[in-house]
Amino acid sequence: MTASKRVAKELEELQKALPKYLRNLCSEDSVLQWRALLLPERPPYNLKAFSLCVSFPREYPFLPPTVKFTTRIYHPSVDRDGRVCLPIISKENWKASTKACRVLEALNMLVNQLELGQPVRLELAEQLTQDPELFHQTAQEFTLQFGVDRPS
C-alpha cells in the first residue's frame, strides 16, 4: 500500500535529521502510528516535554494525518482529550503533497506561538487575551505538573 510505503519513507527521513524540538520519534506496531516527544522552546511550555501520537489513515496522503497529545497541555488549541485543531491538517486545507515533517513543524509553531487562530477551549483563549500573565502562570504550573521530563 502506498500509504505505508510513503509513511515509512517519511519516518526514515525524519529520523535521519530530527529537528531539535522533537525526540524519540518512532513508530508503534504499525508504521502508520508514530510516537514522538515534543519539546517546545518558549515559555510557558519550555520546561517539560509533551508526548504526541501521530496517526496516518490508510488513504494517506490523500487524507490528512491526525495528531494527538498524549500528555495533558494547557493550550487554547488543544482540548482536554489531547486533540489538536491544526489548520494544515484540516480536511479542507490538506494537500496530498504536504509532508509529515511539515505537519510537525506546524504543530511546534502552534504550541510555541500560542496563536489564537482556532481556539478549541474558549475559556483558555479568553484568559489568554484578557489576562496573559495569569494564563502563562497557570500554563507553567500545569506544564510542571503534567509534563513529561525532558530527556538529556
Binding site: 510505503k5 527521513e13 490523500f62 503533497s97 511539515r102
Partner: protein
Amino acid sequence: MQEQEIDFIFKYNEGLCVNTDPDSILMSILDMSLHRQMGSDRDLQSSASSVSLPSVKKAPKKRRISIGSLFRRKKDNKRKSRELNGGVDGIASIESIHSEMCTDKNSIFSTNTSSDNGLTSISKQVGDFIECPLCLLRHSKDRFPEIMTCHHRSCVDCLRQYLRIEISESRVNISCPECTERFNPHDIRLILSDDVLMEKYEEFMLRRWLVADPDCRWCPAPDCGYAVIAFGCASCPKLTCGREGCGTEFCYHCKQIWHPNQTCDAARQERAQSLRLRTIRSSSISYSQESGAAADDIKPCPRCAAYIIKMNDGSCNHMTCAVCGCEFCWLCMKEISDLHYLSPSGCTFWGKKPWSRKKKILWQLGTLVGAPVGIALIAGIAIPAMIIGIPVYVGRKIHNRYEGKDVSKHKRNLAIAGGVTLSVIVSPVVAAVTVGIGVPIMLAYVYGVVPISLCRSGGCGVSAGNGKGVRIEFDDENDINVGGTNTAVDTTSVAEARHNPSIGEGSVGGLTGSLSASGSHMDRIGAIRDNLSETASTMALAGASITGSLSGSAMVNCFNRLEVQADVQKERYSLSGESGTVSLGTVSDNASTKAMAGSILNSYIPLDKEGNSMEVQVDIESKPSKFRHNSGSSSVEDGSATRSHPGGSSGGLPEGKSSATKWSKEATAGKKSKSGKLRKKSNMKINETREDMDAQLLEQQSTNSSEFEAPSLSDSMPSVADSHSSHFSEFSCSDLESMKTSCSHGSTDYHARFATVNILPEVENDRLENSPHQCSISVLTQTASCSEVPQLNHIAEEHGNGGIKPSVDLYFGSALKETNNNHTHQTMELKVAIQTDI
C-alpha cells in the same frame, strides 16, 4: 461532439475567448457553463484578465483537439516549456519548478528535501526518473500525465487514486494535490480512464450546480431523482416531473405534492396533521419545517436548503455551505454581502443571537441620527483643542529645550515666540486637514453603509441614497415578510436585496389600483425576489399590468435600482412584496380571468466595478386561454432602447405558440452600453406573433450590474388588453425609448439558466447533453469582464397544465420544444437587460 466539447473546454482553459458559436452544441455550452461554474473561479479570473478585451474575438490560436491529438499536444507543451526556460531540458525544467515549489514551503525539511530533489533530479535527469510527491517513489517520466492547469506532476497511479477518493466523497472541486488549481474535467477523464467514475463525477458536478440554481426544484416523489428547472414559474407554480413514469405534479413554492386550491401553508398543515395522526412520532425535521423555525442548531442553507448544523457557542458565524458554496451569516441566515458586518445590525462574528428587527432598526436609525451630533461634537472639540494645543505644546518644548542652555532670556523668549507663532499658523491647517478627512469618512460610513444595509435588510420602504448597488439574492423562506406590502402600488419601492415578497393573500390591497403607468414616477423598479412563499401556490398570481409602466420606469437613477411601478390588477390574489413589483412589459395576451402572474423581479447586482451589460430577466406569463403569447423580450446590449422582438415559436405547436427569441447578450466591459438590440439567432425559428410580443427595454449603462428576473409577470387585465395583441403593442419602440432603465451587469457569477430541464441524476441513457429534444434548455451565460458574447437561449418552460394559467412561450436556442398541448403553460422569459447607472 466529443471533440467539440473538448475543444470548448480546452479553449476555455486556455483563457481564450469563447465564441458563442451559433452552431454550438448545447452540450458544449452546458459543459462550458458548467465547467465555468464549477471550475475554478481563479482560473476564470485569471483567464479573464488575460483575455484581451475586444470582446468578440475569435480565439486566436485555436487548437482543435481531439483525444488523439492530445499526445501531440504533450509534445507541444514540452517544447513550450523548454522554450520558456531558455532551452533548458524539459525534464529539468519541471524538476526545477517542482523544487521551487518545495522551497516555497519555508521549512527546514523542505529545503532538505528540495536539495535532495536537486541532487536527485540531476541524477534522475539522466535516468529520466522523477520522484512523485505523493508516493515519494521514483518513476519514469512517462508515468506522469500532463495536467493542463499547473506544472505539478504526480505519477498516474497516485493521481488516479487521488481522483478516485475525491470523487467518491462527492467532492467535485478537485484541485491539484500540490496547489489549489482545479483540474480540468478533461484531464480528469483521461487520468481516470474509468467511465463509471467519470459519470459519477459529472453527475455530482451537475447536481452541485443544480443545487446552486435557485430555480431548481426536485421532484418530491419517493424514488424520483429528477429535477425541474423552473425558471419563472413562481406565478404558475404547478410543476410536473419530466421523468417518464413519474409525472408527479408538485408545487414550485413549497416543493411538495401539488395542492390545488390550497395555500402552501394550509397544505403543509394538513399534511402534518395527517402525519401526526398516522404516526406517533414524526421526524423532527418535518416538525421543524412545520413550525418554520428550525432548532437552533440546524438551519437550512439560504441558497440550497441543505441542512447545516452549528453549535451556537459563540464560534464564528460566517458560514460557507458545503453543498453550494454560499456564504451566509448564521445568525440572520442571510447571504453575506460586503456590508453585512459593517453596519450595526447585531450580527457580529461571534454573536449568538441575531437582533430583532426592531433593535436593528433602532440601532441603525440611532446611528444615522446620532452620528452628525457625534461628529459635530468631536469636530467641535478637536479643532479648538488642536489650534490651541499645538502652539502650547510647541512653546513648552522650546522652553524645555532652552532650560538647560545658557542663553539669554531675550533670545529664549524670542525663540519661544517664534515657535508659537509658527505653530499657530500651522495648527489650523493641520486641524482642518484632519477634520476634512475624518469627517467625510465617518459621514460616508454612517450615511452610506448603514442606510444601504438597512434598506437591504428590508428595514424601510424608502429608497435609500447612495449605494453602489443592491444585491438581491434569493432569500430563504424564513425571511418572508408578509407584512410590508402596500408600498407596491403607489409608492415606489426600493429594490432591496433579499427581499422576499410573499405572495400573500390579501396583501394585494395596495396593488389593486392600477398604477397608470405613465411612467410618472417610475424611476425605480422595485425588484421583488423570486422566492415566493408557499402561501399561495394558487394565490401567487397577481396581475401586473405593465401597461405603460415601463415607459417611465427605465429612468436611470443614480442608485442602480430600478423601480417600476406596476399596474397590478389582481384577479384573485395579489402579490405582495415589500419592494415594488416590477413588471416589465406586459405580456398579456388575452385576458383570461384566471390567475395572473405577479411579477417578480430578481435582481442580482453583484457589486462589480466594471459594469457590463446587465440583464434583467423578466418572466412574463400571460394568461392564455388558448393562445400562447410571446412576450417580447429585448435584450439590451448597449443602451439604446430597442424594441423587443417577438420571438418565434417552435414548430409543432398548434396555435401560435412559443416564440423563441434569442438573446444575445454582449458583455461590454466597462462601456456604456448604448442600445439594446435584439438579436435573433439564426437557427431560431421565430414565429412572429407580433401583436403578442411586447418589448421591454432597458437601456444599458455599464456600471454596476444587476440582473432582474421576473419570474412571472403578467398582465391580463381586461383593461389592458383582452386581445392577443395586448400590451405589447403598447410598448412601442418609442415607449421603450423613454424607458431608461439601465442596469449594468457585470456579474462574475455565471448563471446558466435552464428552463425545465429534466435531468437524470441517475445515469441513464439520456443525458442532458444528449437529449435536448426533450427539454427546453435555456442557457444564459453571463460573463463578467471576460469579453464574451454569451448567448441567451431561452426556451420556454412548459408546464403541463390545464389551461388556467397563462402561458407565454418563448423559445430560444436550438432546442425547441414540441408542445402540442393547448393547455400547456409556458412561461415566457423576457430577458431584459437593464443597466443601472450609478
